[in-house]
Every structure is written in C-alpha cells, then in structure tokens.
C-alpha cells in the first residue's frame, strides 16, 4: 500500500538474488540447476456500504530452486531470503533429487527444445507505467463508486454482497546453468462486484468484473450495469421440467468451460493415459470449423509472457483448426517424450511449485454471428447466464460434465422467463461436437489462466429440473 511514488521496481534485485543463490550451490553437487525468483506486490480493497471493509497490502519475494542430478529432479523453495535459509533450501532440493525417479529426458531446456524461436512479446506492454500514477485513494474511490453505481443500476438491486478492487505487480527472473538469464514484470488491476436483488421473497445474485494492466482503463459503469442486469434478469427464476434443449452459453460461462477443455489437451495428461484425446491429433472433434488457440503472445492478453516457467519462448499455438485437433500443449519434458518441441506451456503457480504444463491465453476464435443473431436462431432453448459447481461437476478424465445453471428460456428466438436450480449435463466429446454457432463477442475471464470465448450455441443438451 506504499504510495506509488515509493514503489520500487525490483527486477534487478531478483536477478541479483538468482546469482547469489546459484553461488551457494556446491560445485559438482548437481549436473544442472535453475533458480526462479518471483516478487509480488499486491493491494486489495473491499468496500461495504460506502466504507472500507478491508484494505490489505503485501510485498513479498521468494525463490524456487530446481536441481538435476543423474536424471533426477529435486525442488525446494523459500520465502526467507537469509543466507542460512537459502543454503538450507539448496540442500533440501539436493536431498529431494535423491528420491525421485531417474529419467534421461530430465534436463534443462535448450534452444533445441523451442518451437518458437523469436520472442514476440514487447516486455514494455506487460508493465503499464500508468499503473504507478493511480494513488491508493483513487483505488479506494473506484471500489466505492462501483458499489454506488451497482446499487443505483436497477431499483430491484437490494445490495452488494461483495465489491473488491485488487491490483499488483508481478516480477519474475530465471537463471539457469545453461546460461539462460532473463526477467520481466507485469502490472494488473481487477475490480469485481456481486449484486443481489430481491422481489417477492426471491433473491438473485449476479456478478461481473473488469481487468486491465492499468486501473484507469477499467470502465466501472459497464461493470455495474452488467452485474445488476445479470442479477435482476434471473430474479423470480423457476425450475423447469427436465428436457433436452439447445443451449446458448454466455461468454462468461463458455469461457469457464474452456478450462475443462484445456486440461484434456495437456500433454502430460495425454501421455499418462488420462485424456480422452489420446491419439486424437488430426481427428475432427467439432462438427463446425472451430479454431482454438493457446496464445502466449496475444497483445492485451493477461497471460502473455516473453518466456514460460522454464525459460522457453512463448508463441501462438493453434490447438484446434477448422474443428480438427492439431496439437497438445507441451513443456520441454513432455515434448521430448513425444519427439516434438515445447510450445512454451510450462507454467508456475508461484515460486512454491515446480513448472508443469498449463495454458496461457486460451481462447476460441470469434465468429461472425452477433449474440442476438444466435438467440434469434433458436426456437426453443436455454440461455445460460451462470453456472455453479464446475469443479465438482466436471471430470476431465472420464469426460463427464454436469453443472448447476441459471439463465433465461429462449422461445421463438426471444429471451423469455427466468430459470434457476437446474443442471446442464453432457460429456466433453458430445459437448464439442454439438457446438453449432460461435459469436463475435469474445470475452476473457481470469480463471486459472486467461480463458476466452464468445457466445456459443450448443445443440441438444440435457437439462434436469422438475
């Protein structure tokens, strides 16, 4: 929460920490090593009834050490950067390498592992200097204003259960014994509001958010209006009879399903026999010509980075092209196993964890239909505005999907009565096969990666209700 004029950029310090840590690795004790240093500065402001409910801030740095010895990997991390603690952490990493399985494919990435050879990300675009111009007072005011705007957006809105402003700076440096040494930093600001509306004993919630590299680029009025609309439009919702219907997924809903799809395309899961897309590259999975990308270089993409969690250059990977599965997502190890190249998808949740395969900006290419066109094309259907239980209701290994849903009925191409307390259920393969139309309104959500989808029409899905 330091006033912004006082915020220090610590990239150089991280690079220094990497170097000093490397110097503490006893010569000859490893074949290869990698130091990952990360700093995160975070502010979070929660507002309730016009006042600050909670204001928290933090600025912390930690390192993760990965060592390779005789084909085994060991890992350890520390948030305590004192000399003894670092020495201890090096020792722990070495100890850990003694119990993990040897594998001749376990070694640090080299240029030979890279699928993409040229960095296409302008580091300057990841760090918006404008972030530094916004004071903490202004950030508090943003949260307060969002609360006020949301309450005023519709007379049925009775309150706001949650309004939050959060932002931060994230800085990363990697140094490894192959001579890789690079770093970058990013800024990010997120606002979120959850509105509750009431009428005749029924209550309904609706949320929305805005995200940008610079808080000044977030438009509060639209967020307030959307949250209020998502709340009041399902007010008085009723359970409907169980039946099969065409469903139209709102972009926020469709984007969440992208996370399930992405997890089945992770090369690690595929190689371990845990993906239903094993041996499926080259096969047509969608009926329509859908394209899905994992793009670590997308301008404006919050998950864009110059290199991945083990220093491999990021690029734009077409995972599905014209409905055909083209490739899985790889880090260096899984790529070697499949005799291919790393797509730059080694991700790290933080310095606390080893790199593993994950997504960057993962999205479905928008089509030409407006959301209104799509709704108009449906004679009887269900417009899904929110889902609940994605984590407990989908199983990426078996492919089963069953989640709670609320939204509006579609009758003769028009949105009609609100629906709640129903489920939508299918399996991943049938789900993708049933995509019929893709909208033009691409929207990203920050949900374990940066996932994007436009409005989509999916045919003939089981709705369970009464």
């Amino acid at each position: 929460m330091a006033e912004n004029s006082k915020i220090e950029i610590k990239i150089e310090e991280l690079e220094r920490i990497c170097g000093e840590t490397a110097a503490k690795i006893p010569p000859g004790s490893t074949d290869q090593w990698e130091i990952f240093a990360a700093r995160s500065l975070e502010n979070e402001i929660d507002v309730f009834n016009g006042g600050i409910e909670t204001l928290s801030f933090s600025d912390s740095t930690g390192i993760g050490i990965r060592v390779f010895k005789d084909g085994s990997i060991g890992y350890a991390y520390t948030a305590v950067l004192e000399e003894d603690a670092i020495r201890d952490t090096v020792k722990k990493a070495l100890d850990n390498s003694k119990i993990t399985k040897k594998d001749k494919l376990n070694y640090l990435p080299t240029k030979k592992d890279h699928k993409y050879n040229k960095n296409q990300v302008d580091k300057k675009l990841l760090f918006d200097r404008g972030y530094l111009e916004v004071s903490i007072t202004e950030k508090i005011e943003m949260a307060k204003e969002l609360e006020t705007l949301t309450k005023k957006a519709d007379r049925r809105v009775s309150g706001v259960t949650n309004v939050m402003y959060s932002d931060g700076i994230s800085e990363v440096a990697i140094l490894n014994s192959n001579g890789f040494s690079d770093s970058y930093n990013t800024t990010m600001a997120l606002v979120y509001v959850n509105a509750i509306s009431r009428k005749d004993g029924d209550a309904s919630t609706g949320d929305y958010f805005g995200i940008a590299r610079n808080p000044s680029d977030i438009g509060l009025a639209e967020i307030a209006a959307k949250a209020a609309e998502r709340s009041v439009s399902v007010l008085g919702g009723k359970k409907i009879n169980s039946q099969s219907l065409d469903i139209v997924l709102d972009p926020m809903v469709a984007a969440q399903f992208m996370a399930v799809i992405a997890s089945t395309l992770n090369a690690d899961s595929v190689q371990k026999g845990k993906s239903l897309f094993k041996n499926s590259t080259g096969k047509k999975i969608f009926d329509i010509e859908a394209d899905i990308f994992d793009d670590g270089t997308l301008p404006g993409g919050l998950a864009s980075r110059p290199f991945d969690g083990e220093g491999v250059i990021k690029g734009k990977t077409a995972v599905f092209e014209k409905g055909i599965l083209k490739t899985y997502l790889y880090d260096a190890y899984t790529a070697r196993k499949d005799k291919t190249l790393s797509t730059g998808n080694a991700t790290r949740a933080s310095y606390r964890s080893t790199p593993s395969v994950g997504t960057s900006n993962f999205y479905i290419r928008p089509g030409s239909h407006t959301p209104e066109d799509i709704i108009r094309s449906v004679s009887k259907g269900f417009y899904v505005m929110d889902i609940i239980g994605l984590g407990s209701g989908t199983n990426p290994i078996s492919g089963q999907m069953s989640v709670g849903a609320k939204g509006l009925l579609i009758e003769k191409g028009k949105l009609s009565s609100p629906v709640k307390e129903v489920t939508i259920a299918t399996d991943i393969l049938s789900f993708l096969k049933s995509f019929k139309m893709i909208g033009s309104d691409l929207k990203f959500v920050p949900a374990g990666g940066y996932l994007g989808s436009p409005t989509v029409l999916v045919e003939n899905i089981s709705i369970s209700g009464k």
Partner: protein, 466 residues
C-alpha cells in the same frame, strides 16, 4: 517465537494511528510434498515459510499487511505504514499495553508421535509406492494412479491489543489417491484421501493401502456406470464425505460475515426452525487429530464446539472476532486463515450432522425409485440465495428398495433452506472425510461428516431421462 517485548512494541506501533484493535500473527513452517504418477515419484518439493501478518481495526475498517520476516525492525516498519493508513480517518484511543500478555487456556489435546521431520524421505516414498502397487494389483483395468503426499510442521504465535496471546505447534499430513480405470474407450476415476492433524502415525502404510484399495474399487465399479437419471428424486446420501451436502446447503450460510452483509439466507433465523426435527448439526475443531482441528483458531481463540442446529432449530452462527463484536454475539473459534498472508474470516472446521437412530440399509429399503450417492467430488454454494450443488463421484440407482446399477458422475442441485426440511431420515453410522474448502481466495483444511441420510427429493443432474 519472538520476544514479548517485541510483540508489545509492534502492537504499540500498530495502535499509534488510533486503532481500536491490533494483532500480530507469526507463523514458521516447513512443508514437504511428494507426487507419484506412472509408478514413479515425479516430484519431491520442500519449502520454508516464515512471516508475520499485522492487522488493525480503525473505525469499521480492517487494515492488513504481512512481511516475510519476523525481524523486529521489519515488523515495526510495516506496522508504521499500517497505522498511518487510517490516521486521517479517525482518532481512537490508544490502548494501554502496559500489561502482560496472557495465554488463553485451550482444552485441545492430541498426541503427535511421528513428526514429518523425523520421518525419512525413503519412508514417505515407500508409502507412495505401496499405494501404487495396491491400486495396480487391484484390477487389470487400472491404468494410472496418482498419489500425493504432503506434510507440514509449523509454529504459530498470536498476540493482540486485548492482551491475548497464543502459541501452538501444528502438524498435518495429507495423502490422496486418484485411480483411473479404463475399459475400451471408457475411463472412470476413483478418489480417496486420508488426512489428519497429527504425524505419520495416522498415515501408516496399512492405512494408506486401505484408501488405495477403496479408490481402485470406485474407479472399477464406475466402469459399468449407466447415465444418471434426470429430474427430482429421493436421494440417500452416504456417510462421511456425504456431509458435503450440509457444508454447502447450510454451513456457509451460517458464517457470520455473510450475515453481516445481508448475504445469507439464514439471516434473522436464530431460534427458528430451519431443518427437520431430526437434524442436529455441530462444528467442532476440538476433536483430537481431525483434519479441521486446532488448539487455537487463526485469531488465538481456544478451540471449542458449537451447536449450529439442535433438533431442527438454528442455535448459532459461526463467528470470527470481528463478526462477534459487530453482531454482539459470543465469539466462537471459527476465525480462520490460510496463513500469515491472509486475514482471518469466519470458517467451518469439522462440521457434521449428528448421529440418528436408523440403520443405513433401512434408508435404502424405504426408497422405491431414487439414487444412493456414496462418494463425492465436492460442491459449491451461493450463500446469498442458498442455491447449492454437490457432485457425486460414486452413485447407484435404487429400485424397489434395492441398490441397482452404478451411475455416471452427476451434479445434484438444490436450495439450502428447502433441502434442510427435506431430510427425512438419519442413520447411526456417523463418519468423517477430510478436504479443502475455498472462500475468498483462501484454502483451508476442513472436515465434513454425517451418518447416512435420506432426502425426500432433490434434482439429479443426469442425462439418462426420467
């Protein structure tokens, strides 16, 4: 962990800005995690964390910061920034800290025999290997086994401006098994976990092999699963993990922060009947060695049980310090936090429905056409509306009082206040299951529990027709 003088100095600095309350939370932890997949230990990771969370109340606002250090100089520095945050807004009275901090007595007692630090890496590896062997020997259809084992040993100290002080040593061990079975193109999973607040004595090889067998049994049984039914049906919910229904349908709505924000369907219901007469529910962090147990909560309050519902009547919400003050209620030991990096909020601990009188088999016999839900994949709730879901990972059709075919995973959806009144019968086979619960970005150890219960009707999110 720090000198009493230092604690008092930091609290004094925190209070200097006119705070009505100040607190320090110091945590030092060593954690280890191992992961096995493809019959080999892939990952062995260790980490070292140490730091202090600082909290003040100024007016109605909470200000929070943390530092990755317990050095007096750094704590004072952070305390100064924090106390300055509210300086402009209010001038409260400065507390007299010229008194001794006193340790509150806690009745919690549990023996820890085998700490992680004296348990060798090889011994831990043997647990993973044994689990893998048991799973693979269980049935030829088992094609993949993922085993995760993690442990943590930590020391926690709290002190606040009321003169309260606490210290505890916490040891936790968590083991989970995910078995994947495959027949033709069908893949099914079986998941089981074993987790205790205590040492490795609770996670012996024989106990680990027990859950390995159970996970394999589920995965293999589900290979024959038929589509789950659709529509509203009577459901018998199995013991232990079945308690997730109460956790979602009611527990979260009883967390007093939701009540303060008018975002709980149970607001204003104290003393009123909210569930059928046979329902008594308890939250108890003082049960020795249970996964959600502790000596002191995240605010240094001694652990003790609270009766949430007695014979259908709502007895108490669950509180942290702030909520109990705001609502002028007696505090409960439910102020919990993930770590020193997080503010405490009201959370469940070990939450369960108390034992009834009936026999589990009689509950199944009483159902003409419905389902038996035996194992679960978790759940989610919107506390403001009470709408909740939970996912079944092992279930069976009940026909004419007899268990029939297994059904594919499906989500069950309902409304909390409605479902609580539909609990028709409770058996005598109370059991518990450990897991993690996420709220406001904080993941904490939680246990759910219940005997077998029968719900007269709930919507089952299948695809198999009525």
């Amino acid at each position: 962990m720090i000198e009493k003088d230092t604690a008092l100095k930091v609290l004094g600095t925190l209070n200097s800005g006119g705070a009505s309350f100040s607190e320090i939370y110091i945590q030092k932890s060593i954690s280890n995690s191992l992961k096995l997949e493809d019959s080999r230990v892939e990952n062995s990771n260790s980490g070292y964390d140490m730091g202090c969370g600082l909290r003040v109340w100024i007016g109605d606002s909470t200000y929070y910061a943390y530092v990755d250090s317990i050095e007096e100089k750094k704590l004072i520095e952070a305390a100064k920034i924090l106390s300055a945050a509210g300086k402009s807004s209010t001038t409260g009275k400065i507390f007299d800290l010229n008194r001794d901090l006193r340790q509150a007595p806690s009745a919690y007692k549990a023996n820890i025999l085998k700490k992680p630090s004296i348990t060798g890496a090889i011994e831990k590896k043997d647990i993973l290997m044994a689990v893998d062997r048991v799973c693979r020997e269980y049935d030829k259809h088992i094609i993949q086994v993922t085993v995760s084992l993690s442990d943590i040993e930590e020391k926690v100290y709290t002190a606040n401006s009321y003169g309260e002080e606490s210290f505890q040593e916490v040891v936790k061990v968590f083991l989970s098994v995910n078995a994947v079975a495959r027949k033709d193109s069908d893949m099914r999973t079986g998941y089981k976990s074993l987790a205790k607040t205590g040492g490795y004595e609770a996670v012996s090889i024989s106990k680990a092999c027990g859950i390995a067998e159970e996970a394999s049994r589920i995965a293999v049984a589900m290979l024959d699963a038929v589509d789950a039914p659709m529509g509203s049906l009577p459901v018998v919910i199995g013991p232990a993990f079945g308690g997730v229904i109460f956790h979602e349908a009611c527990g979260h709505g009883l967390e007093a922060d939701s009540v303060i924000k008018d975002a709980s369907v149970f607001k204003g219901e104290e003393g009123k009947k909210i569930a059928s007469d046979i329902v008594t529910a308890i939250d108890d962090p003082s049960m020795p060695n249970h996964w959600g147990s502790f000596k002191f909560d995240g605010e240094g309050y001694p652990s003790s049980p609270v009766t949430l519902i007695k014979e259908g009547v709502l007895e108490s919400f669950i509180y942290d310090m702030r909520a109990s003050k705001k609502l002028e209620k007696e505090r409960t030991s439910n102020g919990r936090r993930q770590s020193f990096r997080h503010i405490p909020i009201p959370r469940m601990t070990n939450t369960y429905i108390a034992r009834g009188n009936e026999k589990p088999e009689d509950l199944i016999k009483s159902v003409k056409k419905g389902i038996f839900a035996k194992e679960f994949a978790g759940g989610q709730v919107d506390p403001a509306t009470g709408d909740f879901v939970f996912g079944i990972s092992e279930g069976y059709i009940i026909e004419s009082g007899k268990l029939g075919k297994p059904i594919k995973g499906a989500t069950l959806i309902g409304n909390g206040p409605d479902i609580l009144k539909k609990i028709e019968a409770i058996a005598d086979d109370l059991d518990f299951a450990p897991g993690f619960c996420g709220k406001q970005g904080q993941s904490i150890a939680n246990e759910v529990g219940q005997p077998t219960i029968k719900v007269s009707e709930i919507t089952v999110g299948g695809t198999g027709g009525k």
